[in-house]
């Protein structure tokens, strides 16, 4: 490269590459390994604490949800049960009660379509 030999420039380049790439390193491998191990342990600790924070936040959210859930469900129940009551109220207008004596009542349920038909189906 800098000192050309008159050969193929590509060969000169490759020779220069081989010479320069092997220069001494600034750090030693053992020192780098020790730093790497320390760094890996630090990262693992940091990751573990991040998980702990996330798990605590999740548990807190779950606990809040459980505590809050009955309050949220309370108004739902009457709404959900309203249709059966409403449905039961309709046939009540078509019930005929005949008192056979003071203690005995005869209940007759009339189907809605049969009301105008003399009670016959």
């Amino acid at each position: 490269m800098s000192e050309t030999t008159g050969r193929d420039p590509v060969s000169d380049f490759e020779d220069a590459w081989r010479r320069t790439v092997g220069e001494p390193t600034r750090r030693g491998g053992a020192e780098a390994a020790r730093r790497a191990v320390d760094r890996a342990r630090q990262r693992r600790r940091r990751r573990a604490s991040a998980w702990a924070v996330a798990a605590a936040a999740g548990l807190a959210a779950l606990a809040f949800g459980v505590w809050r859930a009955p309050v949220a469900r309370a108004p739902v129940a009457p709404v959900a049960s309203a249709p059966p009551f409403a449905g039961a109220a309709v046939p009540a207008t078509e019930v005929v009660v005949v008192w056979l004596d003071e203690d005995t009542a005869l209940y007759m349920n009339l189907a809605p379509g049969a009301v105008g038909n003399g009670g016959r189906p």
Partner: protein
């Protein structure tokens, strides 16, 4: 240990590497340090070719962090050198892709060394100028070819690509280098 049968027995160094890698896999940090010391120069050489001298050692250092975290997953401890080279090669290519080498490494700001030989320094800058104009993967392929003398299959394994892809990268890199060095003009050597 030193016999010369048809199948070559592992050398003392290879045996020691395998033993150290096994111990490192069990969490022995001092064994890992010995391994790193032994392979450091080779790994830094590869990293220099791909990311430049200024970033090279930091990239290898990061590679050691990755290796330490994954030591337990290394199934064949004897494969440590190839495995470590693969980690550093991939990391260096990724790093070089993320940052433009030329932008991060102005040649006037290269770190001074304790005993810089002026001729070697000038040569190094010339070499880096050429390498900086190749895509990172081609730098890695050329390093493993020119400096390590690896086959296409070995290069492919180190860089996570097929042998044919490695060959194609090398061919393109050689054309590019010849062009940069002024050996061929634009449009020449496309099919070489």
């Amino acid at each position: 240990m030193h016999g010369s049968g048809p199948t070559r027995p592992p050398s003392d160094v290879e045996t020691a590497d395998a033993d150290l890698a096994r111990r490192a896999g069990q969490g022995d940090a001092s064994a890992f340090a010995v391994l790193a010391e032994r392979h450091w120069p080779r790994l830094v050489r590869l990293s220099r070719s791909v990311v430049g001298a200024a970033e090279a050692e930091d990239v290898v250092q990061e590679g050691l962090v990755v290796a330490w975290n994954r030591m337990g997953t290394l199934r064949d401890p004897a494969a440590f050198p190839a495995w470590m080279l693969r980690i550093v090669a991939r990391l260096a290519v990724r790093t070089a892709r993320r940052w433009s080498w030329r932008r991060l490494l102005p040649f006037s700001e290269l770190p001074e060394r304790a005993d810089p030989a002026p001729v070697l320094e000038a040569e190094r800058r010339d070499v880096e100028r050429v390498l900086a104009r190749l895509p990172p993967r081609q730098r890695a392929v050329m390093h493993l070819t020119v400096i390590e003398g690896m086959s296409d299959g070995e290069i492919g394994e180190a860089l996570g690509m097929g042998a044919a892809t490695a060959r194609s990268h090398r061919r393109k890199a050689k054309v590019a280098i010849r062009r940069i060095l002024g050996v061929v003009g634009p449009g020449e050597g496309e099919d070489s």
